[in-house]
């Protein structure tokens, strides 16, 4: 402190010599990067908040580059994903979730249209090579992430085309083939990726031979075999299983004759929903979905909710699909070997003695309806051929998030048993590729992201302007065909406007609130010295710890922690 004596002529000493930071007794403000809930809930591991932040600055290409660090197929997932990110979005508490999937799709399509390059460099010639079984979304994602991380990838696909379930089981009304091909072609054209078609495991190659020839093996065969379905032992002679029916329809464009009558679909997933809509569109008299799950409603428990893309459900009901929820088929009524009716019984998942949920059928709720066709869509399992020694029952069931089954052997996607979305398969591809890199480097596992999650009560919503979610056009019911995509695209203007709705949960919005509202001038604005990705640093020499910046930070990025001095 500069001391001047009474009577001495001098400029006044500056108060900067007095460090009011020593007054802090209980708390100090710090920057804490929390995970936004969209990121936490994304099976593909995208950080939506991060790419929306770039989009808010109109940096679309960088936003896309940030997105494809996790998910190389935003054009696909933007169309088919059930978007748990939108369910988790904190903006639900303000005026409705962000239209994340629409913007994701726009970014994916923009990248194709403008030829943005994937942020990868060609792997070295002597880089380790990873064998990948199956060219579905999981396998393609794994190959992409291997290349992104400096490895080479060689894919073995049994069919003559890459795409897996995206090609065989997703109707063009949800995923136009052009959109799918564009993105897949761009991925397999990346340097370091080799695609071998018509190579079936067990016939042309074996896991053991792959393990010998390659540095690691990733298994993403998908689930091709329908789960066995019968009702108390009865199976109709002319049974058409859901996924097979869907594949046949996509190959030949025709359905069996009895699909013209009254059809019952038994199941509760996206395939069941697709079957219902295709059968209805081809002229069925009536289509009824019987599902053991519940429909969305204010009192529906999350684990009871039907597992389909919400807008698909909405569109199906617009098209006249009947849905009987909390019910199952309890008896088939046969005339000879043909089904003429089914008995339906109400059920619900109830907690048993051990706390685990089990299905309880309610006696006395049986009713009989006459039908012409029953289509089971109760799920698929791994085709077991050639996977002997790796499967645990119907699936791989790895006991770790990386999918490690054996040293340098990993399982990806639906075949794991605990998955069920394209996004999860894409996320598995990334996790497995990262684990391969760590394992080849002699490390155990990649470091986990230990950041906390920013919930809605951590935000100060007084600072967010109301803005309605972008309305997206879709085809009217009367105009829907088997080919035309139902949900429309959004424009650049709409995408950028939607991006402005992102609350930036848990991450700096650069809004200047802390800088403007500090009574002690103890927030310093800088981009050079702020090493934590914000625009501000705290000057603890002068911060008195009042907590005002913490209170007025819109995003919860500033938090008060106990003073340690």
């Amino acid at each position: 402190m500069v001391q001047i004596t009474r009577g001495q002529w001098a400029g006044a000493g500056t108060s900067l010599d007095f460090k009011t930071g020593s007054w802090r007794s209980t708390q100090r403000p710090v920057h804490i990067h929390a995970k936004a809930p969209c990121h936490v809930s994304c099976p593909a591991g995208e950080d939506q908040q991060a790419w929306f932040a770039l989009l808010q600055e109109h940096r679309a290409e960088e936003a896309w580059a940030s997105l494809v660090n996790a998910n190389p197929m935003p054009g696909v997932t933007g169309r088919v994903c059930p978007h748990p990110c939108e369910t988790a979005c904190n903006r639900v508490q303000v005026d409705g979730a962000l239209a994340i999937h629409n913007v994701e799709r726009w970014l994916g399509d923009e990248a194709v249209r403008l030829g943005w390059d994937y942020p990868v460099v060609a792997p070295a010639d002597n880089a380790p090579t990873v064998a990948i079984v199956g060219a579905g979304p999981g396998g393609l994602s794994a190959a992409y992430h291997c290349v992104r991380l400096g490895l080479k990838a060689e894919i073995f696909e049994a069919l003559p085309e890459a795409g897996g379930l995206l090609r065989s089981a997703l109707p063009p009304t949800r995923l136009p083939r052009a959109a799918l091909d564009r993105e897949i072609d761009r991925i397999i054209a990346l340097p370091g990726i080799t695609l071998n078609l018509r190579q079936r495991l067990g016939r042309d190659i074996t896991i053991d031979s792959l393990r010998e020839r390659f540095d690691a093996v990733l298994l993403s065969p998908g689930c091709e075999l329908p789960k066995p379905w019968s009702v108390k032992g009865a199976v109709p002679a002319d049974l058409h299983e859901g996924l097979q029916l869907l594949r046949d329809f996509m190959d030949h464009g025709a359905l069996p004759d009895n699909a013209k009558g009254d059809v019952i679909v038994h199941g509760g997933g996206n395939t069941a929903m697709d079957i219902c809509r295709i059968v209805k569109r081809s002229g069925a008299k009536s289509v009824t979905l019987i599902t053991a799950s519940g429909l969305p409603g204010p009192n529906t428990a999350p684990d009871d909710l039907i597992n389909v893309v919400p807008r698909e459900l909405e569109e199906a009901r617009e098209e006249g699909i009947e849905i009987i929820d909390h019910a199952t088929v309890s008896r088939l009524i046969m005339k000879g070997s043909r089904v003429t009716g089914v008995e339906i019984i109400s059920l619900k998942k109830e907690s048993g003695k051990d706390g685990r949920k089990r299905r309880v059928e309610f006696e006395g709720t049986e009713r009989v309806v006459s039908v012409d066709m029953v289509v089971p869509c109760v799920g698929e399992q791994v085709e077991p051929e050639a996977f002997e020694g790796y499967l645990d029952g119907a699936y791989f069931w790895p006991d770790n998030i990386y999918g490690r089954m054996a040293p340098r052997v990993f399982a990806i996607g639906d075949a794991r048993g605990s998955r069920g979305t394209v996004a999860a398969a894409i996320g598995d591809g990334r996790l497995a590729a990262e684990a391969v890199v760590a394992e080849l480097a002699g490390e155990i596992d990649p470091p986990a992201d230990a950041r906390p999650t920013m919930e809605a009560d951590g935000l100060n919503t007084a600072y967010y302007a109301n803005a309605d979610r972008t309305r997206v056009l879709k085809l009217a019911v009367s105009e829907r065909t088997f080919e035309a995509e139902i949900e429309g695209a959004i424009s650049r203007t709409e995408a950028l406007a939607e991006a402005q709705r992102c609350l930036s949960c848990g991450n700096c919005l650069a809004c200047d609130n802390c800088w403007t509202m500090c009574p002690d001038n103890a927030v310093i604005k800088t981009t050079e010295l702020a090493t934590d990705g914000s625009h501000y640093v705290f000057d603890y020499d002068f911060c008195k710890g009042c907590g005002l910046c913490t209170q007025e930070c819109p995003t919860g990025y500033i938090q008060s922690v106990a003073e340690t001095n």
């Binding site: 108060s15 007084a462 600072y463 402005q500 403007t516 009574p519 103890a522 009042c546 005002l548």
Partner: protein
């Protein structure tokens, strides 16, 4: 002053404050600016002042100085602001600053302004006081300054009591607030009298510009400062500045308290030119006054469920807020980007209001 003199003076100020030169021909500051010195705003009131944690007045004064800019001089009445910024031998001010007596900052400012005029300089004179030094003790000097039409911006930091001497009631203390000289108890529910409507008295002087602002809306506050700085003649600004100590609220809640004060209508944000109401900040959805009062210990007795007088006083304060909303026409019509809700909104990169 000739134009070249002005630019020379600004260049000197830029050097002195370590700011980058305006053109390559200008001299650079002698040393590299520190991060603090290189802040993209004028720091008229620096760190190291001794205000309490979360002080609304320190925040308001900092915002005023930023908006007023470097070419100003300040006359400051006795009070918190004077005491916490200038503990001998230090000062937090980075402009010429004179401490007047409690009652005469307007008179001292008048003299400073006349001296500048005599010297042919255009440095703007600011006069600062708290509500005690403005509503009560310095009122006559202020009235004189306005009447003589001095080119001074008078700013009163209204924390609604004599906080520096230990929370005694002033004529600005709102009705029913408890202070050490208007304690809530058996006899009375806090202050018996009403808050003085100073702005109307000021406006009756027919001065070019008088306005009220709040620390909850820094953008609005600084717009009013800048507007007043451009006016030749007496201008007046009253700034609602919560005092965590005297109002007995958490130091982190200063802005929230101020925001609710505006949104409930108890502290209307208005602008008057030549005595006529020319602008207001509309209230999008008026909040109940209880939202504002419940955060503050000085109104805690209004929430005593066992006291029949509590509800009566709550209703009284609600009626006063409704009266303000009616009198000034504060009720908003639809969404306005600068109403009491929209004015706070931000987006990436800063405040939303005023951007395309």
């Amino acid at each position: 002053m000739a134009k070249s003199d002005t630019s020379k003076r600004l260049s000197e100020l830029r050097m002195k404050h370590g700011r980058p030169p305006a053109s390559p021909s200008e001299p650079k500051a002698e040393r590299a600016a520190t991060l603090r010195e290189a802040q993209p705003r004028f720091r008229g009131l620096e760190s190291g002042h001794r205000a309490c944690q979360g002080c609304g007045e320190a925040l308001a004064a900092r915002l005023v100085m930023e908006g007023a800019g470097p070419d100003v001089m300040v006359a400051n009445a006795t009070g918190c602001l004077e005491v916490f910024t200038t503990p001998w031998p230090q000062s937090a001010w980075r402009v010429p600053w004179i401490h007047s007596l409690f009652e005469n900052s307007a008179a001292v400012a008048s003299g400073m302004e006349s001296a500048m005029k005599a010297k042919g300089k255009h440095t703007k004179v600011l006069s600062f006081g708290g509500d005690g030094g403005t509503y009560d003790i310095g009122f006559q000097a202020l009235s004189g300054m306005l009447e003589r039409h001095h080119n001074v911006l008078y700013v009163t930091y209204d924390n609604e009591a004599y906080m520096n001497t230990g929370i005694q009631r002033s004529s600005s203390t709102p009705h029913a607030a408890s202070t050490t000289t208007s304690p809530a108890g058996k006899e009375r529910m806090g202050k018996r009298h009403l808050k003085k409507d100073l702005l109307s008295i000021i406006a009756a002087h027919h001065i070019p510009y008088a306005a009220s602002a709040s620390v909850a809306y820094p953008g609005d506050l600084q717009r009013k400062v800048r507007y007043a700085m451009g006016v030749e003649g007496p201008t007046f600004l009253v700034i609602h500045s919560p005092c965590p100590l005297g109002w007995k609220h958490d130091s982190a809640m200063t802005i929230e308290v101020a925001r609710r004060g505006v949104q409930c209508g108890l502290f209307p944000l208005v602008e008057l030119e030549r005595g006529a109401l020319t602008n207001i900040m509309p209230i999008r959805e008026p909040r109940p006054v209880a939202d504002y009062l419940e955060l503050q210990g000085r109104f805690a007795h209004l929430f005593n469920k066992n006291d029949y007088r509590a509800q009566e006083e709550l209703d009284h304060l609600q009626a006063l807020a409704d009266h303000n909303i009616e009198t000034y026409g504060l009720r908003g019509e639809g969404l306005d980007p600068v109403d009491s809700t929209g004015a706070g909104h931000v987006r990436r990169g800063g405040p939303l209001a005023g951007r395309s």
